[in-house]
Structure formats: C-alpha cells, structure tokens
Symmetry: C2
C-alpha cells in the first residue's frame, strides 16, 4: 500500500468489507493490511485468526452489503476515500486510528487547505454565537502566513452551526457523527444542504447510520484530527467540546479557548482549558499568528509501515499454545501497554502482536490510545 | 543599621531629612547609609558629594521642616515607620527601592499577616464590582494553608473600593498615592475613615501631599511590594492596574487575573495578562491554592548590606578626576547596567558606585530597576 495511490474498485470493496467486519477497528485494519499485504488476503485469513483467538463462527462483512453501501453512497452523491488516496486529508492521515475509509460529499479540494476546528456549546449565549460566526469568517480570510484556512466543526446546534455559517463563504467542513446522509439536528437541514454544495460533509460511519450518543466522541476525534488547531468557544465542564480539545492535545494540535467572566457555566470549560495551557483567544489574530509561526506541519511519511515485516516468522507462534496462555494471563481488564506485555513475557514483539490481533478479532480485546490494550469484561 | 531595631527620635529625624533631601531616592538612601554608617553622617557629607558631582549650592532638607512633618503626622494619628523597624512590612522590605520610611495609620498589626493585592478598573462593570467585593471577602477567610490574609489596594474608585469594602471585616490595607491625610477621591471619604479605624492607611509621600498623576505608579509598586500576590479584576490595556501587575512580576510576586469575554475593553487587559502567564482566576480558591502551595516566602535577610564595605578605599577616588570623566563618557541618556559600566572601565565597582552616587546627588543621574542608570537629559 503506497500513499497517494488510488484504490481500484476491487480494493475499495475489500477495504470496505474489512473495516466493516466484526472487531476490526482502524488500528487492527492497518495491522492486518501490513501483515497480509492486502485487504483481500486479510479477509481470507480473518475467520481462522478469530478461531485461534477463541471465537468460532466469525462472519466477514458480506460483499453484497459492501456493494449496497457503495451504491447508496453514489446515490447520495458521496465518495468513499481510502486512507492512502490523494484526496484523503493529509493531517487526518497522521492521526493514530485515522479512519481507513471516509465518506465525503461536496467541494473535496477544500481538504487540501489548512483546516482550523471551531467547536463549542449547544446552548451557547447570543454573544458566543455572534463571536463564533465572526471568528469563523475572520479565520476564513487567513493571514499571518496561514493561507485560506477552512473551518471544520460538527454541525451541532449552537457554536458549531454558527461557525459553519460564518465560514460558508470561505470554506467549511462538517464532520457528521452518523452517516453522510443523516441530517441532525433537523434545524440544521438548510445548513447541511448548503455545506454539501459549497463545503464538505464528512462521515466515518456507514451511510444510513443514525447519529447516537456514543458516536459523538468518535466523530470529535476527526474534527481535531483534520485540524491544525481547534478553537473552543463557550464550553461547560465535562462537555463534548472539552473532549475534542483533549483529543486535539493528544494529537499534538494547537488548542485555543475563548475566555469568559467568572460565574457563567458556559465559559467554565474554556477558562479551564486556558488554565491548562490552551491559547487565550479573543480574535482570529490570536489563532492565525501562532499557527503561522509554527509553519506548515510536515505530514509524517511512512506512518503506515510501522508494523510491516513484524510477522515474517509466524512458524514460531504456531508451534505452541503456550504463548497465547501467557499473554492472556498478563492481560487485565484495565489497559496495559503492549510494550509492557512484551517486556513481561519471553516472546518477541511480533509474536505478542499476533496473539493480540487474534484476541481482538475474537472480540476479547479492546485497544486504547498509546498502544495499550485490555481484556473485554464479558469474556 | 540592624533589622528589627527601632529608630531613636534623633535617628528618625535624620532619616526623614535624608530621604526628603534633593535627588535622594530610596536606592541612594540605602547606599548613603551603608557608606556613611548613619543618616546623620550622610547628611553632613551630602553637600560636598553633590559639589564633586558638579552641583553647587545643594540644600539639605531642613530640620525644622522634618520636625513639622513629624508633628503633623502625630496630629493626624499616623506613625512614621523606618525600613529596619519591626513594624515595617516584611515583604515590602524585600522590594528593590522599598521606601526607607512609610507613614501608617490604623491597626498596624495587620502588617504581620499575609497580604494579597486586588486592583482593577475605575470604570468597572457591576459584575466586576460584585466579583471584587466577594473575592476580597472570600480571600479574607483564607484557606489552603494561607491564614487570615489581608487585602491591599489603592483606594481608587471602582474595583479598589469594592475590594476594600469586601475585606473591611477581615482586614484591609489602603495604599495612598498622596499624603496619609489626603482623601481621594471624595466619594471614598467614608471608606477612608473606616479603613483608618479597622484597617491600615499607608503612604510613602509626606503628609499633606496632594495625589497627582505621577504618584500613582509610584504608589502601585508599594501595593505589589506588600503582597504575596496581586489579583487584577477588569483592566483595560495600558491601565494603572496592568502597571501594578508588571511591577508585581518584576518583584517575583504571583499575578492573578480575572478573564472576560472578548470585546469588552475592561477585560482586554486581564485577558492579556493571562496570555502572558498570569494565573486565570475565577474564585478565591484559584488565588489561595497556589499561594498556599508556594508556602510562606522567606524574607531575605541582610538585604541592606550589599554595599557595605565597598567604600573602604576612597583615597583612590580622590586621586583623580580622570575616573569621573571616564564614567560620564560611558553613560548615556538610555539606561545602562552598572555592571556594564564597571566592565567597560578600569576602575573598581566601589569607585564607579561612588561616582554614580555623586552624579545622582547632583541631579545628573537617574536610577532604573535592575541596577541600571542613565544620564538626565537637561544636563
């Protein structure tokens, strides 16, 4: 798999089947791809791997369902973009657990421009809404060495909607929690349509997916993943916007927060971010200047190939069940670092990785940021 | 001169004459004291030093004027406290350029408690005033290891007055720009009187001095000098409160600032302080916790004696006029570090210091923070 190489129709179908198969998340997806050389090869090995991990009757995502999804995407005017294709947003590609496939609709060349995220409270104040709209418009004009930035947000009610509105003229990307065809909330119907025409709608979930609570944090990581920096405008403590900000920090993005006077719960979250080191932001200049000074981030090359070549001696693993028992023994319901596991057993990194992969495909293992894993409680 | 030793009546009179004599500021005062061993000895040498610096007819502050000032202070119920006396506030004593004498009136034992400054805009918002009053009251209760703090401010209209009001119960210190008997502004007459009874009024300027514009920054350095930390509540850019905050930073004090939403000029200054590293403050906890963690600052001992013993070989200086010419040549109208001067000429630190002192007394030299000096333009 080489970056900037378009997928063939057959590859696209295999990629889609692989990412939609049970217990295959983005990290596992790339690992399987590295191990087996192609999605097609990975698909044919998956059931056996899952069986070795302790699960019988593992069912691949059927070809017919994948074909139906592709048809449906075409019908709603969206494309499905693979991780290594040239259209895929460069900064998002750098993110740990970047979606192998995204569906997108609209003015796709906007993906090539610098993206700045703006997120915030649904129940924003009139001041906050006005500020977000103006900030988005001002950011869209660029400056301080940042050329024609595009504003990304989550198309939620409140600050998100105001940010999209402000940047509609200059360019905006709406990252949806559900499928690309699902308009939510209903009050944003008009805005959804305008963005589909003049900006970009982006979704990780299959077309037709209803946006539900657990999908919002998953979506938030894409907003920050796309963006050079994320601005938080009004956020109460423990809000989704703060989660986006934390994700942005984890991803090495710049975080900006708009302060407010004491006593308003809608600015306690942003004040807290500033206290924790976010850049205090009163205008677009406060965002553009640091981003301009930091220069254009160089996208990490070869990110994908970290695990290539790790599995060249699988015979060692097949020799013995003992390895698997030891690794399972070392695992816990709370996350443990894979490096730690390797240190604590006599097997190589390649062997431990292979066992973890099998457990994951069997639905017995969960992956966490920072290359940590835990056992799943039900098993 | 030893710390915590009361001045005799004669010493107090000599100190007062020395600090009130032409071109003697605090830094020069301590230098003269170190050089001549006592204020009385310094007074008798001053005219000759000034003559050597190039000024004829130097006039000492008359004894009769000093006596009249002491009488007037007694009449208004204030005392004059010398730098090394036990009543002098310990943290203020650490400050570069601490006043050799302060006049004070009220409940002087409050000087022994931890002091926290609160300053801010004269044209404060209703929210800002309410916040300052509550913050002062909450701070007065202490907590997080900070016991019974006293709130210091400048008794100006707006935030200052609100802070004093909030802390009237628990303890407050008003630092006046003019003489200790001068009530300003008139609307604070009642508050001035209440503080004189229950708190402390403090002034550096002679009793009877009208507060004028140039005295406010001079006063501000005392608010921050007294305080473990300074909280700025609402401040527009380029306001006096920001000057106080910068002075506090120079003095190694903690600076706290209360944020506000973008667009209100009254919080642009505080937001700017936060951007520059001030601690974002939404409540008394945000102030008390860091101060408690920092623990009680140990007061620097022996601060006074830095220059003692530097002048034990004055004969070298008297030998030649050449030294003076070289030093004057090296000086400029913009400030230069004394260390730099010493490095750039072949004379010892003691000799350069003595020449600078003479130039200062002659009104030809100005001193700046960080032991820097410049020539005065008129000469």
């Amino acid at each position: 798999m080489r970056e900037h190489t378009p997928l063939s129709d057959l590859e696209r179908l295999a990629w889609l089947r692989l990412i939609r198969s049970d217990n295959v998340g983005p990290i596992t997806f790339y690992r399987l791809l590295a191990q087996f050389g192609s999605a097609e090869n990975a698909l044919s090995s998956l059931p056996e791997l899952a069986r070795q991990g302790g699960r019988r009757g593992y069912r691949l995502f059927p070809s017919s369902d994948a074909e139906a999804e592709l048809e449906q995407l075409e019908k709603v005017g969206a494309s499905l973009i693979g991780y290594q294709e040239p259209e895929y947003p460069a900064l998002l590609r750098e993110m740990e657990g970047a979606p192998p496939l995204i569906s997108a609709k609209g003015n796709l060349h906007l993906f090539g421009r610098t993206v700045i995220g703006i997120v915030g409270a649904r129940n924003a104040s009139a001041n906050g809404l006005g500020f977000a709209r103006k900030l988005a418009a001002d950011l869209g004009r660029g400056g301080y060495g940042v050329k024609d930035p595009v504003v990304a947000s989550g198309l939620a009610r409140g600050i998100d909607a105001a940010a999209h509105q402000g940047a509609l003229e200059s360019g905006t990307i709406a990252v949806l929690a559900g499928g690309i065809d699902k308009i939510y909330p209903a009050e944003n119907t008009r805005l959804h349509e305008e963005i589909a025409e003049r900006g970009i709608l982006l979704a990780e979930m299959p077309v037709g997916t209803q946006p539900t609570g657990r999908l919002f944090p998953v979506r938030n990581r894409i907003i920050s993943g796309l963006s050079r920096g994320v601005v938080v405008v009004e956020a109460s403590p423990r809000s989704g916007s703060l989660i986006t900000a934390r994700l942005a920090l984890d991803q090495g993005r710049e975080v900006f927060a708009v302060p407010g006077g004491p006593g308003d719960p809608r600015t306690q979250g942003t004040n807290g971010l500033i206290r924790d080191g976010a850049i205090l932001t009163e205008s677009a200049v406060d965002v553009l200047r640091p981003l301009g000074e930091a220069g254009i981030l160089s996208t990490k090359e070869q990110y994908l190939f970290d695990f290539t070549g790790e599995f060249n001696d699988r015979s060692k693993l097949d020799d013995t069940e003992r390895c698997r028992a030891v690794v399972v023994e070392l695992l816990d319901f709370s996350p443990v670092a894979v490096d730690e596991l390797v240190r604590n057993c006599q097997f190589s990194f390649a062997v431990v990785s292979a066992i973890l992969l099998e457990l994951e495909l069997a639905g017995r293992l969960e992956r966490h940021p920072g290359n940590r894993v835990s056992l799943i409680n039900e098993h």
